[in-house]
């Protein structure tokens, strides 16, 4: 054996693993989801997915749209504007709907903009109420729909969504938390 090989064997010789290696492996192993846990995680994820699908089927489209828009931060806003009169005109021109927005809304209301839903079926108005995000979805009510007062949406357990029907239009208001709903009403109503 030549000198180089001797030096390599000596310099690269096998060593003993530090005793703490086992503890490290065990600790890391405990942090990893095990096979059983992984199955549980998949089952839970599937249950949440199915529940979401079921909820979206049960929930009227406007409510589902409002909740999704709120969760996603209203990504599809086509007309960004903070002026209520201009938003009202834009909505009327693009959908034929009339939004009773206050000309001079409360100082706690800050408009972000609007977008149409499914062509001319409805409109979403995104805004901030205080420090909370809010979404108002307005669409045409089904023919013959009776006037319906403000009510918490039936399918929404969180209490963050309110719906009502008036003057042939269906309104759906969604806010980040239930307390914000009252403030969000100031988009159209007096203080």
């Amino acid at each position: 054996m030549d000198r180089l090989e001797r030096e390599l064997q000596q310099g690269l010789r096998s060593v003993t693993a530090p005793p703490e290696l086992w503890e490290r492996v065990r600790a890391a192993q405990a942090l990893q989801p095990g096979e059983g846990n992984r199955g549980l995680v998949w089952a839970l994820a599937m249950a949440v997915f199915l529940a979401a699908v079921a909820l979206s089927l049960v929930r009227p489209p406007d409510e589902a749209f409002a909740i999704r828009a709120l969760a996603d931060g209203s990504p599809g806003i086509a007309f960004r504007c903070q002026n209520p009169a201009q938003i009202r005109a834009w909505v009327r021109a693009n959908t034929g709907l009339d939004l009773p927005l206050r000309d001079g809304p409360s100082l706690s209301i800050q408009l972000i903009g609007a977008q149409t839903i499914d062509g001319t079926r409805g409109v979403e108005v995104a805004y901030r109420a205080g420090n909370r995000d809010a979404v108002l979805v307005v669409s045409r009510a089904e023919a013959g729909s009776a006037r319906r007062p403000h009510a918490r949406a039936s399918g929404d357990a969180s209490g963050n969504v309110s719906t009502w029907v008036t003057d042939g239009q269906r309104y759906t208001l969604a806010c980040n938390d239930p307390a914000g709903l009252q403030l969000a009403c100031k988009l159209c109503h007096l203080d």
Partner: protein
């Protein structure tokens, strides 16, 4: 399943028990392979902290992938492949190769040798580790598997998924580089004590 350290068990049986989720079997595999895994990791990375990370990563992979192991292949080769991949992954994460000083410290602390001899030996080992650390990854892993584990060309080829000829070629190139880099650091053989 209880594993008595005094009774040698066929590794296939331990692997099979580990596949069934037997924690004692995993511990037995760990005890059997920990030094080999850690040594490869240390000699490849040149860094004890990195070697611990690589060894830990390897055993976690072993546990999570043991179901994929097919018994017609050698378990050693299968595990070595995981160590090699962990070494390469660790390097990809951009860890710097640190100077390896532990050998020097160990040499000074080890008994039954003159301090001067120990320091000289440690210095030589340090030089070898330094020049090996400067090899490219493909040559370095071949050198480590050959000299740390004493594996044959065929065994290394199986682990790396290449031909024995490729292993020989990489090792040959590595030898030339190492010889050149080490030669001008060496004293003449048996040097230092000859007549003036």
């Amino acid at each position: 399943m209880l594993l008595d350290a005094n009774i040698p068990l066929a590794i296939e049986n331990v692997v099979e028990a580990c596949r069934r989720g037997d924690p004692d079997a995993f511990r037995a595999l760990f005890e059997t392979y920990k030094d080999r895994v850690y040594s490869i990791a240390l000699r490849y990375s040149g860094n004890p902290a990195a070697a611990m990370d690589i060894a830990q990563d390897t055993f976690l992979k072993l546990l999570s992938r043991i179901g994929d192991y097919r018994s017609e292949a050698s378990f050693d080769s299968w595990l070595y492949r995981m160590v090699v991949n962990s070494c390469i992954d660790d390097q990809r994460r951009g860890r710097r190769l640190a100077p390896f000083l532990d050998g020097l410290v160990d040499a000074v602390c080890a008994p039954a040798e003159s301090v001067l001899h120990r320091l000289m030996r440690a210095e030589t080992e340090q030089r070898v580790q330094d020049v090996v650390a400067r090899l490219g990854p493909e040559q370095r892993i071949v050198v480590v598997l050959r000299y740390t584990e004493g594996l044959s060309y065929d065994e290394i080829a199986k682990i790396l998924g290449c031909s024995p000829g490729t292993v020989a070629s990489r090792l040959n190139r590595a030898h030339k580089i190492l010889e050149r880099r080490l030669s001008h650091l060496r004293k003449p053989e048996g040097g230092g004590d000859g007549p003036a």
